[in-house]
């Protein structure tokens, strides 16, 4: 125990609570994670992740494009069970020829943006103009001129008060006690 933490006459339960106060950096981290969660397409993990590819399933060549106009039927519709497993294996494996179109397309958005920035930096006029911002970045709106509202995490109505420990908002003593009982520091979204 650090000297400052030792308090004669203060119960150890209170001392423990004090130790758990989240500082600004931790609160920012939580906030960022909450924002990322808002952008997620799925919350849970892939329910089919544990499927094994049957060794008996017919293998399809990786080179042959299944969608060429030369085929009689429009290929690729996920109907046949056999084709399904090896296509899943292909998809799970990563780069199909069509998927990244010869590696030109980046698999994720962050890489796409990085590439665009790099491309712009190399353009002849870039150094001269001094601005290498992409149209994508320039289109991003700035913050609102209106002050932000804060809502009680428990009931959703206006939350003017802040929990000392974790920074969550609450509206009244009853919502605060609900928060303390069940959710303080446990809910990570």
């Amino acid at each position: 125990l650090q000297p400052a933490m030792v308090d004669a006459g203060v119960s150890s339960r209170l001392r423990e609570t004090r130790r758990l106060v989240l500082d600004e950096a931790a609160r920012q981290r939580r906030h960022r994670r909450a924002l990322e969660a808002l952008e997620a397409d799925n919350f849970q993990a892939d329910p089919h992740a544990d499927l094994r590819v049957s060794k008996l399933a017919p293998k399809f060549s990786d080179e042959a494009s299944s969608f060429g106009p030369s085929r009689d039927s429009l290929g690729g519709v996920a109907a046949s069970a056999d084709g399904k497993k090896s296509r899943k294996a292909k998809a799970a494996g990563g780069s199909g020829a069509v998927g990244t179109l010869g590696g030109r397309l980046r698999r994720n958005f962050a890489a796409l943006l990085e590439e665009e920035l790099a491309r712009r930096a190399q353009l002849p006029g870039a150094a001269a103009s001094g601005s290498t911002a992409t149209p994508y970045e320039l289109a991003q709106v700035g913050p609102s001129r209106l002050p932000p509202r804060h809502f009680c995490a428990v009931c959703g109505l206006l939350g003017p008060h802040t929990c000392v420990v974790c920074g969550t908002r609450f509206c009244s003593a009853s919502c605060y006690s609900t928060h303390q009982d069940t959710r303080c520091l446990k809910w990570t979204g």
């Binding site: 909450a34 924002l35 969660a37 808002l38 952008e39 997620a40 397409d41 799925n42 919350f43 849970q44 892939d46 329910p47 089919h48 499927l51 494009s65 969608f67 060429g68 106009p69 429009l74 690729g76 519709v77 996920a78 109907a79 069970a81 399904k84 899943k88 998809a91 069509v98 998927g99 990244t100 179109l101 030109r104 397309l105 698999r107 994720n108 958005f109 796409l112 943006l113 590439e115 665009e116 491309r119 149209p135 994508y136 289109a139 991003q140 709106v141 700035g142 913050p143 609102s144 001129r145 209106l146 932000p148 509202r149 809502f151 995490a153 428990v154 959703g156 109505l157 206006l158 809910w187």
Partner: protein
């Protein structure tokens, strides 16, 4: 004419031929079901799935941009099949959409797939907002040379405000707010999971709940105040009581035996059946779509769609600004909320000089506006589509560079 219009969205693909009057909406996902391990559901094959709980989506789009062609091919093949069966794709020309601001690898990949994998006769790759502007111009019968409008396209991944003049995008006028249907559904999921029932895995069900139960309040602060007073058991005046009654309701969740989709039910109208799961909804019904107007409610440090429109406007020449405010065109599925147009008008009216005319224009279902614009373009008697489209022959001869040039001039 043999033209297909494909509005490729991150949430849904809106597809139809120019001879149809409205598009089919196909979910743009290859979906996995928790209990069905033998197959995945491509696009609307999801209708064949008995149990829609715990669905796992595999989306070709990421942050609003088409990055995964393995998945997109599957969905597109599924969508195009009925048309390819009628006539081979090489005899169709296609209008396909892209976001307001696109990246060249994404655009080139789209062109390549359309010409080389599908072999379309001609391709026009145009921004959805551009098509919505076209729709507005033709619906109101304004001459192309006189046309000016602001387009608000609220989609799945984000919302864009952009200005169009004489059929072209005004450079530098695009503003993007990173709030769309996805964020709204996730916000609702979190609120319900935190307060009532764990629904974080039930994106499909909660998305339907959002569509069924949520609406845009014409005065959110008054709704908050009324609900707060009710919660404190203070006496309510008649207006506050009306607000509370309008907001509080039950949402009966689907059980996939009797109901495949949930529904809103007024409080106390029916006793809860035994096997029913219900949600109590109140302020969430308006707080969710409120994010479009105030992203800061969820901690997103951005301005809302109304402010974004004003921001776009402020970049336009002052003497022309009234021309734009007279036509604020709504497009995109997230504009479908009841009360959206009204609220947007109120917010804009408060921010604009009172001598500016203000006209929020909604020419039908917002989600279909880009598609309908494409259809108007395809059917237009003056053959306008010709100057936007690139033929397969030209693509072969001149390559991708021609496409970027031809399409870029309008975007």
């Amino acid at each position: 004419k043999d033209t297909l219009i494909v509005d490729l969205g991150a949430g849904y693909v809106k597809i139809g031929s120019a001879s149809e009057s409205e598009p089919r909406q196909v979910i743009n996902s290859v979906t996995k079901a928790k209990h069905v391990k033998t197959r995945v559901f491509v696009g609307n094959e999801l209708d064949e799935c008995k149990d829609l709980s715990g669905l796992y989506y595999q989306l070709p789009f990421q942050k609003g941009y088409l990055l995964n062609w393995e998945l997109q091919k599957q969905v597109l093949d599924h969508c195009l099949k009925p048309y390819a069966d009628k006539r081979p794709l090489s005899e169709w020309q296609v209008i396909v959409t892209e976001p307001c601001i696109n990246f060249s690898p994404v655009a080139e990949a789209l062109d390549e797939v359309l010409f080389e994998e599908y072999g379309f006769k001609a391709v026009a790759r145009l921004p959805a907002a551009f098509l919505a502007a076209q729709r507005d111009q033709r619906q109101r019968g304004v001459l192309p040379a006189d046309h000016a409008c602001l387009v608000l396209d609220c989609g799945y991944s984000f919302s864009h405000a952009a200005a169009y003049r004489r059929g072209r995008l005004v450079p530098g006028s695009v503003r993007r707010v990173n709030v769309g249907g996805k964020v709204l559904t996730n916000y609702l999921k979190e609120a319900i999971s935190y307060r009532q029932l764990m629904v974080m895995d039930e994106t499909h069900v909660m998305n339907q709940c959002k569509e069924d139960a949520c609406f845009v309040s014409e005065n959110f602060d008054a709704d908050l105040a009324a609900m707060s007073r009710a919660a404190q058991r203070s006496p309510l005046d008649s207006e506050a009581q009306e607000r509370c009654q309008k907001l509080c309701c039950e949402y009966v969740l689907p059980d996939y035996a009797q109901h495949r989709r949930g529904f809103v039910r007024q409080l106390g109208s029916q006793k809860q059946q035994q096997q029913e799961q219900t949600l109590r909804l109140g302020i969430e019904r308006v707080a969710t779509p409120e994010l479009l107007f105030r992203p800061s409610d969820a901690g997103i440090p951005e301005m809302g769609v109304a402010e974004a429109l004003c921001d776009t406007l402020s970049g336009l020449p002052p003497h022309e600004q009234p021309l734009y405010t007279d036509a604020v065109v709504l497009a995109g599925g997230s504009c479908r909320f009841a009360g959206f147009a009204n609220r947007l008008e109120t917010e804009l009216r408060a921010s604009l000089p009172d001598d500016f005319p203000l006209g929020v224009r909604c020419h039908g279902d917002p989600a279909a506006q880009a598609w309908l614009g494409g259809r108007d373009l395809a059917l237009s008697p003056d053959g306008a589509l010709e100057c936007y489209a690139v033929s397969r022959k030209d693509y072969r001869d001149h390559g991708a560079a021609l496409c970027s040039e031809r399409f870029a001039q309008f975007t």
